[in-house]
Symmetry: C2
Subunit: 167 residues, 2 copies
DNA sequence: ATAAACTTTCAATAATTATTGAAAGTTTAA
DNA sequence: TTAAACTTTCAATAATTATTGAAAGTTTAT
């Protein structure tokens, strides 16, 4: 496998993985491209490399900036805007986990809390609803806490000691 | 909020969360419905409750059975098939994590390994590709290991001690 | 063997989501 | 101030994904 094949394979695989961390294909591919690039890329560069339209590129770059994993780079003397992504995987993971928690997990936790707090009218079905949503609430809350705590650490000694602990 | 409102809210919220764990809306809603039901439900029950077609119900129930979180229940003297879901949230989390790892994370790890193993031709861009995909490989592998180890434990003392450790 | 009760399959269709491209908007240089 | 260089917006369209419903398939009771 040569460089170009490897690059293509990485970009498209990372792109299809996008759904796993809750973003679309183009967005993930743009991030992947920037992630392995040795220098900032312009919109033209990205459009050409991924064969996507200007509008698509613009919108997805914006979203990546909203997520806080891509930043605009001003290159002196250049009219175009250039873009780079966070290159440290630990930091990348931290940002992604934080955003997903905020955007998706928190709202669910809120609903689970509401639902599990309805007044118990004594019927079996109400008891079951309360019991099960409460269990789900606790699990979701704990998982979310753990993920956040873990990735909040800048160093990864945590990861290592946790792994050791649970092996 | 009364029982029916709470039930609806739970089912639809859990349904929209489906994407987060990689399944579709109907599938997640069916699982949610079974999760708070006090008794096994038939296909008719589910169709009526969620207002979805027979075909849709049949296909999604099958998928849930493939995932191993829903099982057929034979009720003596009844012609219809009845269904139940795993009621223990810890076990549910375990099964979901295992399946997602197998279906989505493992293939990505494989590609990352392949890409990061291309021969270094000495150019800067190749070095960067190798370096970054290797970092991603390590991170993904570690995260996957952690999740699997954690949810493999039947008890949740692990969760508690990890939380204590990283607080 | 047959018919009733039930489930599965799958081509057609609907709903959702992503993408395009051209017009409108913005910035910079002269 | 103007025009060139560039970016953003968004209605239209394409691509993808989910859902339907009816025909085909299966099982069970008689």
């Amino acid at each position: 496998m040569n460089y170009d094949e490897a690059k293509m394979k990485f970009v498209s695989t990372w792109g299809s993985l996008g759904t796993l961390w809750g973003i679309n294909k183009a967005m993930a591919q743009i991030q992947a491209l920037l992630f392995i690039s040795t220098k900032p890329l312009s919109m033209e560069d990205i459009m050409e490399d991924l064969q996507i339209s200007r509008g698509n590129t613009s919108m997805n770059l914006r979203q990546l900036m909203d997520w806080g994993i891509v930043t605009k780079e001003i290159i002196p003397g250049e009219r175009k805007e250039y873009f780079t992504t966070e290159k440290d995987v630990q930091e990348l993971a931290r940002v992604i986990a934080k955003e997903r928690s905020r955007r998706e997990i928190q709202p669910v936790i809120k609903v689970l809390k509401e639902v599990s707090s309805i007044t118990d009218d004594g019927t079996e079905k109400t008891k079951e609803l309360i019991k099960q949503t409460k269990a789900l609430h606790d699990l979701t809350q704990t998982a979310d806490d753990m993920i956040n705590k873990m990735v909040t650490q800048k160093q990864n000694w945590i990861t290592k000691s946790v792994l050791k602990l649970i092996k």
